[in-house]
Symmetry: C2
Subunit: 210 residues, 2 copies
DNA sequence: GTCTATAAAAGGATAGAC
DNA sequence: GTCTATCCTTTTATAGAC
């Protein structure tokens, strides 16, 4: 531990930057949050900040990564299942800045050559996996039918959660937890087989498959 | 029609700008799309463009408004119900630029004092209403139970659609239509009463309501 | 309705000192 | 690890001519 003043200090500053970056995003929005303002708020110049995070995109990506790491450790101990996911969403309602950053940056990064594109693709896969595991656990306990298409069900939970967060940002009275619980309940009660109305199928008469 | 050269020309240029703005957004993303590039592509200078749309936010908002107007006329003639909604989503898959703009700009506008904030709040209410009407129609036809909470069900469809679009931007193999059809099927098969597991309720043991 | 010109600001990147 | 200094680029906004 003789690295005090170098490594330790650097790591602490990094943490501080991540926190302050979030505050600036919460106030200005992801688009209008600038490196200079963040730097100033942590008592650095803009080039000083760049030493820690070499670009705006890297910084925001790391803010979100740190969030995931902490949230997962805090709310998703092994096998907590859907309750853990709900707990994360409940926590999200106390940190609108994070939700705002997530929604805006994820959308911005949807363009294929965005620096954070791969981060989000991997993150989505990870989240779907977490939810799929929760569904699997629910199946083991007999709460959900074994004929449920787990991947599809997990997808629906994840996209509903994402969509809900944007709605909630626009209207904070949105009942995210209630809506997600309902979504979960729908899946719990349903029972379907692949040949029934599987992925890609459509209601008859839609005309989507000419 | 003696206004050729003034009103007519202005309106035509406006339309052209809306189209080109979309192309630039599709290429660069909403954040990186600039008034100057759009102006150049329509053969105007940036101040020339500003004459038609006084800000970036107004321009993007009008692109989305024009889209809604056209889509609604094209795919949602009275009482087409859920099929009409699916048709809009199918059409969206042919215009990723629009989906990209919608996702990114909606997230950006989630901050309360954003110029387009109200536009999105009103738009969400409108879309929810459209879906709620489709559900109501489905109930009349006996396809959906009368005990369905229409507002809640409509919400779930809308947020799932929004979330799906972002997922699809990141991974174009995402089966948006299949997922939405499944969502609809879940609601069709379900049957719930308000006291059963109504909005705001949670699974037992979640601890979300201390 | 569109231009030129210019403002006025700000964004992010980089080289080199300490 | 942080600063100063500087650079280049870009962005939006505005005033006034045609």
């Amino acid at each position: 531990m003789n690295r005090r003043g170098t490594y330790a200090k650097g790591a602490a500053k990094r943490e501080e930057i991540l926190v302050v970056a979030l505050e600036v995003v919460a106030k200005r929005g992801c688009r209008k949050a600038t490196l200079s303002e963040i730097a100033e708020r942590v008592g650095l110049t803009q080039p000083g900040l760049t030493h820690h995070f070499s670009s705006r995109e890297e910084l925001f990506q790391e803010v979100l990564r740190a969030r995931d790491t902490r949230d997962h450790a805090e709310y998703n101990p092994p096998n907590r299942g859907f309750d853990g996911f709900l707990a994360v969403m409940r926590h999200n309602m106390e940190v609108p800045g994070l939700v705002q950053l997530y929604a805006e940056f994820a959308a911005e990064a949807s363009i294929p050559d965005h620096p954070a594109h791969d981060f989000f693709v991997e993150r989505y896969a990870w989240v779907r996996g977490v939810i799929a595991a929760a569904i699997g656990r629910s199946q083991e306990q007999g709460e959900m039918g074994l004929d449920l298409d787990v991947a599809e069900a997990a997808d629906l939970i994840v996209v509903a959660a994402d969509g809900l967060q944007v709605q909630w940002l626009h209207d904070p009275t949105t009942d995210m937890l209630g809506r997600l619980s309902r979504m979960w309940a729908l899946l719990r009660r349903s029972s379907w087989s692949v040949g029934d109305a599987g992925p890609g199928d459509e209601p008859a008469g839609t005309g989507l498959i000419p």
